[in-house]
């Protein structure tokens, strides 16, 4: 409750559990939404460009594309969850009002949002991996090595989204956030083509985005890339996302506590 310190305990996980429980009630629609889009991209781009492109970096285009779609799909889930989802819990169903008068502290409510965004993204990423495997677009279990990187990347975008939510007056605000940040990150992440193809400025900008590294890691995991770079990039993602989550918790706390 003090303005300066963050008081975070394991109660946070019980709030995450609440979000999971609520989500499990509506999972069919949530799942359809989260898998539908990547699948459309896979079918349209993957099979549409397959003949034109042939291979990229020595792989069939579909095999190149699928891991990238898993990563950007996970990013999207985190971004939607921690904007529209969080804002509706905050202002519409006012779920946080009730939780705030229990021993759970407001910063824990906020931190739980970030964790939940990341967790949900990972669940969705695993589902996408399975679906893509069915379509033959992912053909190895080593893709699961990407999950830690996907978790931290999603935690980063969940946190960024929460910071946006902490200043949002209404849902309209999020269309700016998605247009300016999420959509460019989606397309310039290297999911659809190697970042090296981009002009220098864009390439450098893309390298600054956590999603680009998460795409790299996921692709390396699916296509037997360098283990060293997988571990290194996972650690970098962790190093960026954990402070981001604390900043988000601090911002959201200020929004919950008047």
């Amino acid at each position: 409750m003090r303005k300066d310190v963050l008081n975070i305990s394991t109660l946070t996980l019980l709030v995450v559990r609440r979000h999971l429980l609520v989500w499990l009630k509506t999972w069919p629609s949530a799942l359809a939404w989260a898998i539908g889009e990547p699948l459309v991209f896979l079918l349209a781009f993957g099979f549409g460009f397959k003949k034109l492109i042939g291979g990229i970096q020595g792989h069939d285009y579909v095999l190149f594309l699928a891991p990238g779609l898993v990563a950007v799909g996970a990013m999207n889930v985190a971004c939607y969850e921690c904007t529209f989802g969080s804002f509706s819990r905050l202002e519409m169903i006012r779920a946080y009002d009730a939780i705030a008068s229990t021993p759970v502290m407001p910063e824990e409510i906020a931190f739980a949002d970030a964790l939940w965004g990341a967790l949900k993204s990972c669940i969705m990423a695993m589902v996408m991996m399975m679906v893509f495997a069915v379509f033959g677009a992912i053909n190895t279990f080593t893709v699961l090595l990407a999950l830690p990187a996907l978790f931290f990347m999603s935690l980063f975008f969940a946190s960024l989204s929460l910071i946006a939510t902490s200043v949002a007056k209404n849902f309209d605000f999020f269309s700016y956030y998605f247009t300016v940040i999420v959509t460019p990150a989606f397309f310039f992440s290297g999911a659809f083509f190697p970042v090296e193809q981009l002009p220098r400025v864009f390439r450098i900008a893309a390298q600054c985005l956590p999603i680009t590294h998460a795409v790299d890691v996921t692709r390396a995991s699916a296509l037997h890339g360098s283990m060293y770079s997988i571990v290194l990039k996972t650690l970098i993602l962790a190093g960026v996302s954990i402070p981001a989550a604390f900043i988000a918790a601090w911002r959201m706390k200020k929004r919950i506590v008047k």
Binding site: M1, R2, K3, N7, L11, L14, V15, R17, R18, L21, V22, K25, T26, I93, R94, A95, D97, A98, I99, A100, S101, T102, P103, V104, M105, P106, V257, K258
Partner: protein, 319 residues
């Protein structure tokens, strides 16, 4: 000992569940609660009354450690809300003005999830939930989704939820607003049981009947400030007379003789849009005189807390 609110600072007794001194809350530059000083004694029910926007909910949010005070002193259950908010919250039962139930979860799940925030072990929680569902007549609805419940059922559930941690103090923000008389009486009966068991309660309400029923002491707030404080009987004695005579205004013929009559009976007169009101201690005698003057459309009733409320906060509509 007769307590004088002005000197409440002097009797800052250890062991009061709530002690507030010059407590202030600002939203930006707007002062919602303005230097209020009061305390809540163990086992008593304190009612906070006040027009819309008076600052009742704001005060309650500070006591329940949800909003930090802007300035002033606040102590709840002997602890500092800024430092020990978590500890304090673990022994409070809070019924917020808005239900804020989880619409997608069932009645049962709502209670179980809420119990988890208090780290109540699952078996204990299960037993308490069953008991609460029984006590509040919610057993049949335990598997219903919140969205399918009526307003009265939702409110009952919100109130039941506040008991999950077996609180030492209950904070009720307009527990029965918007409910039908049946639902209201149902809730009153439950609350009476808890009050009888010695639970400390802070209650805000717009139903003066509710306040009279439960409150040992009443605080009337307006624009963030305390206007008066005391037991309902004391407040009536202090601010209005024992009886009120309401009279539909006639053609004004008797106006003069009535003023004289009022002076004779030491009565206060108030003119509202439609009526003339007399506040007098010897209401029966005054009524007799008025009747002798051939005036009809007169009604005599006992003065209530509502008269005190209106007198102190005025008749104009707020917000």
């Amino acid at each position: 000992m007769k307590l004088n609110p002005a000197t409440s600072g002097a009797e800052k007794v250890q062991g009061h569940p709530v002690i507030a001194e010059n407590l202030t809350k600002q939203y930006g530059r707007f002062v919602a609660v303005d230097r209020v000083s009061f305390h809540v004694k163990k086992g008593e029910c304190l009612a906070l009354l006040g027009p819309n926007g008076a600052g009742k909910t704001t005060l309650i949010k500070m006591i329940s450690c949800v909003y930090p005070p802007t300035s002033g002193y606040l102590e709840v259950m002997g602890l500092d809300p800024l430092r020990d908010g978590r500890k304090i919250k673990s022994v409070l039962g809070v019924i917020p003005q808005e239900n804020s139930l989880d619409p997608d979860l069932s009645v049962m799940q709502n209670l179980m999830v809420y119990a988890s925030y208090f780290r109540i072990p699952k078996n204990t929680a299960q037993a308490r939930v069953t008991k609460l569902l029984e006590d509040f007549g919610l057993m049949r609805f335990q598997r219903w989704k919140i969205a399918d419940l009526s307003g009265g059922l939702k409110r009952r559930l919100t109130i039941a939820r506040a008991f999950i941690n077996q609180p030492q103090m209950l904070i009720l923000d307009e527990p029965t607003t918007g409910l039908d008389p049946q639902a209201r009486h149902f809730i009153w009966e439950r609350l009476e049981t808890f009050k009888a068991s010695g639970l400390t309660m802070i209650l805000t309400t717009h139903y003066i009947e509710e306040a009279s029923r439960f409150a040992d002491r009443v605080i009337i707030l307006d624009r963030g400030k305390i206007l008066t404080e005391g037991s309902p009987e004391v407040l009536i004695k202090k601010h209005v007379k024992r009886f009120v005579i309401e009279m539909l205004r006639g053609d004004g013929k008797e106006e003069k003789s009535m003023t004289e009559l009022a002076r004779k009976f030491n009565a206060d007169i108030e003119q509202t849009a439609e009526k003339t009101l007399y506040y007098a201690d010897e209401g029966e005698n005054l009524l007799g005189e008025l009747a002798r003057m051939g005036l009809n459309n007169i009604r005599l009733r006992k003065a209530t807390l509502e008269d005190v409320f209106i007198k102190l906060t005025g008749r104009e509509i707020r917000e």
